[in-house]
Amino acid sequence: MPFNRKDLLGLQDLDKKEIQTIIDSVKPFKSLFTRSIKKAPALVGKTVVNLFYEPSTRTRTSFEIAAKRLSADVVNIATATSSIVKGESLIDTGKTLEAMKADIIIIRHSLAGSPEILAKNLNASIINAGDGFHEHPTQGLLDLYTIYEKKKKIEGLKILLVGDILHSRVAKSNIWALTKMGAKLRVAGPPTLIPKNITDLGVEVFYDLDEAIKGVDVVNILRIQMERQQENLFPSVHEYVELYQVTSERLANAKPDVLIMHPGPMNRGIEISSSVADSTSAVINEQVTNGIAVRMAVLYLLAAARTKQGKKHVNTN
């Protein structure tokens, strides 16, 4: 399989073939979930560290379960309980973990480019679990896989991202992956939350959600952060709901088999109405399940590509 990378830092770096390789690898991992023993020994003896500088429950748990289902040893480090609060630099923290023989470090950080710094300074494989407003590659991949699983293709699909595009690493990773795989991307939100240059990435910009939603195959709804209101990026939640909440009425203009996605955690009644969140079109829980399988695939591929010792794959009948 064509995948030979030390790190997964973003989907901007991956070509179509590599993305396809990851997507093609997911199913066997997902099939483990239906067994009573949901584990395989692929990563036995490997040490995986979850280094989270930002609070996160679902992504961290998802990575932890993924690594554990591959029999890796998993260590979780959160900011509040580590020497990070004692002022240790990111690179030193990374080097300490490497000295403890961590094979794979999964990093979540509020500052863009942090995973890249670790990748440059360490031999361990680095997986970006979300860095600032930059990228969240495994979320992008799991969104892509979920769409692929349901629609059996990506090419030609009309996919809409709604909400705060400006501050969204999820949006960024989705755009990179989906446009590479041939989808037609739209974004909708207030101009203050859509970067001016987003059209350079080949997406179409809408300020009117009703226009944007017409004929789409997928609506991916982004979480709106309340603090954006304090930055005057929109006047009030009340107005945001009025203009951009995805409701059943609005979805009437989408394709009948539209998929509703949300990276979570949801603000019900704000960016998404409860009726939409609980509708049969919603695949939000499947995203969570797929997230584990996608992360298993990523962990496996990185671990396999990791120690290149020039040994050829020998047949071991």
């Binding site: 483990l32 590509a305 990791r306 009948n317």
Partner: protein, 180 residues
């Protein structure tokens, strides 16, 4: 098409004869056919297993459903990280029946070091606790690295040379030859 210089071990006729032999041997050891299930190892073991299943039913001349599964060992290999850039494709594992209390006939094309079978046993272990696991292979080429033995062998052909099996379903023809 195999190179004419290649040493043919089994031609298509003898592959068929071997499958028939395997089927007969399996039936002689498994009186109660209702307890057996067949699991093929990806990739060519799966096609062999399918033929074996057909053969079993035609010999027995009965029309019962013998449970059938496929199994990929990739995630159970112990040489991850030593494979370099050549990462083997992970294929499907699908065992859609309860393996507990079944006599599992595990099928592969060539038995050599025994490592693949070791992986396959680990896979099965994670699905449950079968009554027994029996191994059927088309060719046993010897030179084991683990204490593993086949219960049913089509042809014993001890060689250090690589042995390749081609099957019509994937390769367009039935043949087994030395392919070093």
């Amino acid at each position: 098409m195999a190179d004419i210089n290649k040493k043919i071990i089994l031609d298509s006729k003898h592959i068929q004869l071997s499958i028939t032999k395997l089927a007969k041997d399996i039936l002689s050891k498994n009186i109660d056919i209702s307890e057996i299930a067949i699991v093929g190892i990806q990739t060519r073991g799966v096609y062999l297993a399918k033929r074996l299943l057909k053969e079993l039913l035609s010999i027995k001349k009965i029309d019962i459903e013998i449970p059938f599964g496929i199994l990929d060992i990739t995630l159970y290999r112990d040489d991850l990280g030593e494979m370099g850039a050549d990462i083997p494709t992970i294929k499907d594992t699908n065992i859609p029946f309860d393996i507990n209390a079944k006599n599992i006939i595990l099928v592969d094309d060539v038995l050599y070091t025994g490592r693949t079978i070791r992986c396959a046993l680990d896979v099965l272990k994670d699905y449950g606790r079968p009554k027994s696991i029996q191994l059927a292979v088309l060719i046993d080429r010897g030179y084991r690295e683990l204490p593993i033995q086949a219960n049913f062998v089509g042809l014993s052909y001890y060689t250090k040379e690589q042995v390749c099996v081609e099957l019509t379903e994937v390769d367009g023809q039935d043949v087994a030859y030395c392919c070093d």
